[in-house]
Symmetry: D2
């Protein structure tokens, strides 16, 4: 028998493509429970022109840019997290950006029939790079990132240097440096429904989704978000060509994308926190500080989900996850940190 090294845990998206296999989708949660999945999807284009003004908060106070039906497909032109302001390696973030006007989001997209208490399903079908190369941007921004004092972990130390890296991104790879080429492993950093009354910075992840920065949220994933406002009010943006666990320096390879999603509504599926499904696993997502609270939220949601929908006794689920649960650190640089807790679907099969 072949020995499979634990390094496979760490391979991440190596070799991932921009477009995901789709066969498993027929057995997915959204296919089983979504009100519109069986319909022939209508395609909507949310180009830069249609979007017009991008958004820097997620909330109920902005004007919808698109109305769609459950099961529809939307092709979206996302801008990079710096809204294109960082064009060369000489562009300094502190010169080119003005807080809080960063991490621009497309939307809000209204999904017909989505009401508070429902769940919105967002299947990411594909993510393609837009614009001229070098399209990818990574920055070290003073007082931002995991290995520096920040505005919240307040210190008196001198800041780290401010640096910009521009990198070639195509559908196969990210040319990080002369020395290192990384696989193209695209995912959406920020995906949200609207809170009921708050309007939250696009930099912050929370129970409505937001800036979760989970590498799992790429093509082939379905994210389930709690609906808390009529029409769900979907926001999306912050495409990453690749990202390490934790997004340690504060930014991924940020790029402008054409992202195609399919949306649907699951009636009466009331979620406290976002969930994610892929071919092989399900995941719950928590965002909080300190980091252990994000992990606690994620695991508690997973225990309760296994109890509610997969026929496990609560304590059996808890003890079993202590043996086979898997954790993804999304970010530990944003105003709240994000952790995903997952379990392979094969362990959820009925006896």
């Amino acid at each position: 028998m072949r020995y499979r090294s634990p390094s496979e845990i760490m391979i991440g998206g190596s070799g991932r493509m921009a477009r995901a296999a789709t066969k498993w989708l027929d057995g997915s949660i959204v296919a089983t429970r979504g009100v519109g999945w069986a319909r022939k999807p209508r395609l909507h284009a949310l180009s830069e022109a249609v979007q017009g003004k991008y958004h820097y908060t997620i909330g109920p106070y902005s004007d919808p840019v698109l109305y769609v039906q459950p099961g529809d497909r939307i092709r979206i032109e996302t801008r990079d997290a710096f809204e294109g302001a960082i064009r060369t390696e000489r562009d300094k973030p502190t010169k080119r950006l003005r807080m809080p006007f960063v991490n621009p989001q497309n939307g809000p997209i209204m999904i017909e029939g989505a009401e508070p208490g429902d769940a919105l399903a967002v299947h990411i079908e594909s993510m393609l790079p837009r614009g001229e190369n070098p399209r990818g941007t990574c920055c070290m921004i003073p007082h931002f990132g995991a290995l520096t004092g920040t505005t919240l972990t307040a210190t008196l130390n001198p800041p780290l240097p401010e640096l910009t890296r521009k990198v070639h991104v195509d559908e196969k790879q990210v040319r990080w440096s002369e020395r290192v080429t990384l696989p193209y492993n695209p995912h959406i950093g920020t995906l949200s429904t609207s809170p009921e009354i708050d309007s939250i910075s696009t930099l912050t992840p929370d129970s409505h989704g937001g800036n979760m920065d989970l590498p799992d949220m790429g093509p082939g994933s379905i994210t389930y978000l709690p609906v808390r406002a009529e029409g769900a009010r979907l926001f999306i943006g912050d495409a990453h060509a690749c990202q390490g666990d934790g997004e340690v320096c504060g930014t991924a390879v940020e790029y402008a994308s054409t992202t195609t999603i399919r949306v649907d509504v699951i009636k009466g599926w009331t979620l406290d926190w976002p969930r994610l499904e892929r071919e092989d696993f399900i995941m719950t997502i928590g965002s909080a500080r300190p980091l252990e609270d994000a992990a606690r939220i994620a695991y508690r949601e997973l225990v309760l989900w296994m109890e509610a929908e997969y026929g496990f006794d609560r304590w059996d689920a808890y003890m079993m996850l202590s043996q086979c649960g898997r954790v993804r650190l999304g970010n530990f640089v944003d105003p709240k940190y994000t952790v995903g807790a997952g379990i392979l679907k094969k362990y959820l099969a009925p006896a």
Copy 2:
């Protein structure tokens, strides 16, 4: 091109065996720099009888049980974390255990020539179960675990139920329940050199190693620990037949093992925190509370290691790990939490 799902990140040890492939070892750090690796190893047996009294603190005040040479092999009979006191599912931890006498350790083993400022290398060659089945034990212990108030995260809520699970463990699988069988994914939960003057509970991980609970620390891994006392004073114990990321309920599938290791000394390699090497990746390990501090330590150590020994500019390493670093949550239940930060070796290759 085949699409590789992110779920591979989550597969963990599925299909792992108790004995690891060894060819890659020839190019490992210990093979290159260890003073004894080229020697023909002498085999030592550290049976229960030879060990006699097991230890509940890691420090300089206990009597050595074994003296070995760099490059030697040791076959160790570890006891489970409950020291065998939990024999049936009716045995309650609060009845059978008395704190702080848990997590018994073999050792201290003295490695000749190991001096403060050196690193001790511990290659885990194999881990085999000992004793009669059901050999594996998992407990929910009141006020212990990640999803409960604890002695430190002090609350007034009623405790969770106290539960014991006994499970069949063999060299291939862990029969968790009628419904779920998990792969045998053995690893060492607690591995330590001695601090200089402190004698630390075996429950606590810190910069000397300790109760890290990292699933990566199984057969096929080499752990590098800082030497802070003459002879290194190696302690080892706490075998797990499998464990999920974070060890969420507080315990893994704890079992008694026969674990075979090979040890060596790297002179003058002064480590601040433990490091780990496997065929495909290197990893740095931090233990602290809150959890983000454990992750900060791990990533900082990795940045500085890449700078010092792999020819990376510090900020290039930092920004690159933001794209390809991988994080393993060891535990978030012990007195300190443990995080490993890793990078695939292929990204470390010279230009």
Copy 3:
């Protein structure tokens, strides 16, 4: 020489009255730098009727209820944090309240001439109880408070009991129980200017102020808040008849008040976080999780303030605060925790 016991540190507001002495005000920061302090104040009444709908988020999207000049006085009818829904000890919060519609705020009040980059000064002149006794309400709300698992510190423990306490409050005392009478120590729990684009739950403190729950913020205090929107957009509410450090069970003695404030504008005084002044001390205020980050923010702000405006070398200030800085824990129950760091004015006097 009389020995003064450290218990004086702990006496809190014993003997405090609803109306503060005012002579020291002539030398206060607002008196020296406010554009309207020398004016004869005009009195505005912000009664319940004038207010109409109270607010549950702090932001730029709500309609102003009052326009005032710098230096004006405003008499405000605040509602209690439960908006009067908890009338008897049989009223359960989970039955009577619907999240996120709690902690109602008066405002927004527009202050003429206040522009982004300025500071808004809010001097609390007096706080008088409104309504019939027992006016005061304290609740234990499930999954809320410092000594229970919460929605963020997620656990699986059973919740604490849900309890309501109604207490007599007058201008001198709070009759907590047959056994214990506490001094009336009124303060404002939630005081805010508007963020630039976010609209933040009134439960959350942050750099704009918000739900800080600082017992120091009562009559005799001047709070300085950063102006980030035209007119400052002042929100105020959440009166407490008394509160312990940390607000450990989650709620203070919440009551409806008639609170009289005087407001002013300090042009070009750009604050990153709120500040507070009383007769004897100045204080900086940080809100974050984990709690050490709130304390870090507060102390960093205080060091930088001493350097910028009181003629201290930065490191002298830092080391000196290590000898004489005083910390107030506002709350450690809200979505962010609040800490004030202060220094006695006598230590700020020029050499």
Copy 4:
């Protein structure tokens, strides 16, 4: 009626003397329950010469230096936290100190009859400065303190400057600078009984006491510590001439003292964490990271104490502390942070 400003909370030890009033002691816990308090105390001298080698860990492995009876008095010559190695402002800590050999402790002192499950009472009677002026030392040590990245809150920022301040200390005042004179507010930074089997760095506070850095622990205080080893094994050291809440730069005004204590034993009073009594209040002490866990521990202990010994219903105590509990931040710079939660004795009086 005079308005008493909240600044009284912040006055700290202004005007405190080195010797405390003693009348209230007759009604203290130790006077009521201590086995030796009624005895005429015998005085023991624990001079530098008697002590010999000072200790850098707290544990059961060191040789006793003194045997005393319950109720005895001990006059102790403590060394400063740098063991006198920092003599001038040109002495750099990194040059003069070698970790972990800092914070030297007197002891262990054996108290006859103290057994595991008892409490040890330590009444600090007086603290007088020793040695030539400038006797006081305060240092900024690289990567240590609250407003800098540290070995645990690991960052890549450049360190703060390394600075030493020598200050005149006498029984009345601390001459901090030309500009600022602070009151002499002496207290013991580190006070411990021995853990059962661990031997813990003197830098770390925990449930056995340790490096708590609480300004309340000066003359006039009685600290109650859990006995976990035969004879209690009392360690004491780390005198501070004054200290701000949190000890923000990492060090207080460290000095060598002659500290006189009286010790006693309360049989069968089994404490989980240290407690403190002064004339006006009682306090419970928690040490942990993150800081909120230290506060949780302290408040939980206080609730349970009020329930067990003062006749309060548990939930009444919890809700009442939310109105009148007071918090002292000891340190947020040590390996664990320390918080005291207190209540005035007058609120504990029977109905």
